[in-house]
Symmetry: D3
Subunit: 250 residues, 6 copies
């Protein structure tokens, strides 16, 4: 019987904070921590406006070789590894797939994605395609994919090869259990070992950003307001006080 | 005078059934019938949610050679072959164009597409671009294209070369009169000679799919419900009976 | 101190007329004037339905070389050239960026774009990406970009190199002060020296196009109505008269 | 029985003169005659130093569709169209193949190429690969190909589709019977209808080129010698006289 | 201490027979056995005329992530996995590397390749580059690579990740211990489990091929001689007898 | 009259030492100095075995715009900027060209290259093509190019735009006067401001490399000899002494 390893999941609090931080904040901060780029290039959001975060279940496809994948898998679906990655799904999980950028392989279809959603899955990030999008788009799952196709997963050039092993997705290495964050800017990997340090750094937010945004939107001087100059600090502090009063009034 | 051949059209019943079946169902079934992939990679839907099906009128572009395409065509629009493919248009037809993946050639503009729509055309599948999209998008035509451009059809590298001859579109061979089916998953070719056999196979639908989908959405076990296991069959039959009653009540 | 040149802006009347003409009309007409293709291939609209026109402020990125871009720029944001192009922004300007097609560099983020909008900027055309799209998309700026990324502008392979110098964007040469026009069909460059002649040519509109469109939509003959044949001219003139009456009645 | 059309061959004198002129001379002259580019991009010489010219026999491949190419072709090799293009071979012919740039299809192997050589074939220009190169390279045929592969012609994605019909090879349209010229700079198409005019133009050689080359090689001034300036003409004429004497002496 | 698994090596007799058969013969025969394509597209021979065969030691690179590869590997070369694949080298082995097609990573340089040659290595097949080619080309190793670069292996985007695990090289799955065969047509994988069956099939050589080649080279009819027709069989048998006599005389 | 700036040339001694060091040594050392990659990807050697080094004269091409490049340049060759970069040529110079990777533009032909050679030019590095290769290959110039074409420099999509200004060539920024080094591994840029420091670092050669190479070639242990282990040092010193004696004997 096919057996594949499960992953170790990070504390939910980390995941929630990472989701709130957003990919632009996290990717930039990780770069300053020495991790050049965690942006998976290729998969793009098919649910504009949605943000998800969660631990990565991983699935690796390889070029199909007919002596390694064939009749046995057709006869006994239980041998198909793309099912097994879903068996591990828990609430909030994200399935991350190295599908080698294929535009002719639909990694999951509606039934599989329905099952994943039923198990509480947050979404999928696939360097490749899904199929059955006309139905799948309404499931409420996050869908970051390179494209769409009517073909099934092993129809042309690929075969599923490994579950919860390291993969390369969109040019980035993803370890099982790393944390995926995805929004309209794209999908990134947060190495789980760096998550706490990252959150500490990324949370040192510039309190003045809301103030500056307001001023810039009114035609304020970029040099004065972004980053906040010493000259503008008194103005900012006055604004802060006013904000406080405004909040109290409400 | 320019003369181009017409196509032989399939029975409307076939077309209607193929449209209802959807591309994912058809592509997968054709694969099991030995046709590796009928998905035209490149053209994507510009009318999300729309599904079309119909016989293929074909148009083949070739690299422009100034001794073969030039002043005569500018002086006498009747010599321009991209008009002639539209002259054959009947209600429900789909124009399928090998535009060599060009991103700088707008195969049809608003006026041509308006004419095609006026003739009852169902849509276009172009391995290339259209122009005038700001107006064309509201015509109600199905538009599967690789991109958009303001350039006209022979502005840069291409010239129209043949009408209703075999073409390669998105990496798939399309014969004039083959049946195109297109939805959000993409556009496929159904070889007309296989249409009946395909419909016979594809229509052997799994009656239990609606039942299984419901169970999976509630967190049911994939092994039990997809494909339907023997263990779950009594549960399915009970569900079926209930469904029947529910329908009667309505 | 960093100093970069400003541009010479064209008369607002030209810009308004070019915007009204639309990219398909202008690109085709320029082709007939001997300018093969002005369509910047790559950047696509992220605000479907929006049309913008305005003079080009230009920004050129180059491959990052660590001896030419480094600590000084991090320590003193005023040295970062992508800020300086925005300092020149006036109402109606468009920032056009050669970002070398990079999919891992977010040329501008929300704060920069907010400032640009605050200054009256009309939009950006970038052969590359922006970041912070979840926020930036609601600013009301025109956004023609190749993609989205959470990475910042110098995070991976690029460095800003020159402001208001000639650039190549999407395979087209853009001179500072040339006029950009962009809509759903894409973004084009109108060489400023040709603008007047172009407007003269493009404005010789075919008065019969509205008539013909109407007829074509009803299933009228393409040969008869597009272009308008001599045979159909009396019909067109009758239609014109009727239109006149209709207008008077209103 | 399979029947394919033959081509009309140009006078041998034209072919000989075109071969002598070389591709750089011809391509440049054709550009000045209004034919933008006749260089087939992709196929490169596998016999450095060889130059060939001859009429084009053409072969068109299409994406394989299993209902259109299959058992019948395996059972009866006579049905394989890539054989039929060779049946037309006469001394000096060149086979030009649209193999869609495929790097996994070996259009011809050693036996086919041996037959073609035996018939007097001059060479092949293939937008794709040949196989059996270890043996084929020694046949003395001109080989302009995109790559090499051990796979046979229909092993992966292609099927032969038409013989001596118009093709697109390396981004250039080739009509059956057009004249191919190929050397280390690449392979070009000379439209047969333009051949005479081209030869007239291309043969107006600059008599001073040998003189100028000599001077430039010695460090002479480009402005003075290329193109030949009026100032350098007397020097050239003196050189000419000397050359004449030198020749007489020999 | 780093430990990586060794491979199981096939009988030398198999390897010798496969090398003698050549890639074109083997790839075609495997296709007829149901293995669509074993040609690794990308790596090309840098030693024209050389043929090698041997068991595959495999090395897998992944996108560099600075938290997974860094100072430790620089401080202690023994941690660098690309060394470890070479530690397993035995006479006749071939190192097969998934370097992700990178053109900026030189997987091995002269010293490593010298060591590998010293151990009896037959050659390398790399979907990527080597460095130090000016020196490495004279070592007598088979070199099938995608390109050359002066950069070292982890200089830009990659890190070595696994030794003697399954890899994808040039779009083909290679299992550790599979047999690589490479010649001017390219490099292929022979699945070790199919080697014996393949040899049985591929060795059923057409005895008439030498005869037919001779006839074709003289201008003989393709239909008559390839494949050998019944009509030509008596001629072939006469030729055979003569050959026999000729051999005896020698 | 067209005027373009000259460059400042580095001391010949630096150039000679850099040429002797080779690209692999220099690129690796620069990486350790913080310059990620100086390898220009694309241009490859067409003179196997040749190594050149010298200061960069730069030439920048831009996408052709017919209003910016046209009749004037055809009428007066002196206006063609690709001539002007050659006017600056001094003995040992290298012309480095951003030709935007074009495969249909032959930047220089035989006459231009002959002139450049006559002036003492060392070679060209072009992210694009040359033409007239059949003649140019024998000039003795170093030729690092992406490809070959019979087309002339402005025949299709490009126009020369600037001389001795910063360019991007093969994905690397090159400043006029930077030092180019090129061999079979490819062409690299040495930022002139780093040259001295680089030479100091790169010249700290490992004296033991010749010794180790010898041992490795004999099957010696990689761990022992590369890098040289403490355990092997006495052996190395013995070898050194012997070498000394051997040299004296000669």
């Amino acid at each position: 019987m096919t057996h594949t390893p499960d992953i170790k999941r990070p504390p939910k609090a980390w995941v929630d904070k990472l989701r709130a931080a957003g990919t632009a904040n996290l990717s930039g901060t990780l770069a300053h921590m020495g991790i050049r780029s965690v942006h998976m290039v290729g998969p793009v959001s098919r649910n504009p406006g949605m943000t998800i975060a969660g631990p990565a279940l991983t699935l690796r496809f390889m070029p199909k070789r007919e002596d390694l994948y064939g009749q046995a898998e057709y006869d006994d679906p239980e041998k198909q590894l793309h099912r097994h990655v879903l068996y591990h799904a828990q609430a909030g999980d994200i399935v991350c797939v190295d599908a080698r950028g294929s535009l002719t392989s639909g990694i999951f279809g509606e039934m599989m994605l329905t099952y994943f959603k039923g198990r509480g899955g947050a979404g999928v990030v696939i360097d490749g395609c899904i199929r059955d999008y006309p139905n799948a788009k309404d499931l409420g799952l996050g869908l970051w994919v390179r494209g769409l196709t009517p073909n099934f997963h092993t129809q042309t050039d690929l075969m599923p090869f490994a579950v919860n092993e390291p993969i390369a997705c969109g040019g980035v290495t993803v370890m099982p259990g790393d944390i995926i964050v995805a929004d309209d800017d794209g999908a990134i990997v947060v190495p789980v070992g760096l998550a706490q340090k990252l959150l500490a750094k990324a949370s040192q937010e510039h309190g003045w950003e809301d103030f500056s945004r307001e001023r810039l939107a009114e035609g304020g001087d970029l040099r004065r307001y972004y980053p906040l100059s010493d000259a503008a600090r008194p103005e900012y502090e006055a604004w802060l006080k006013k904000q406080g009063k405004a909040k109290k009034k409400r």
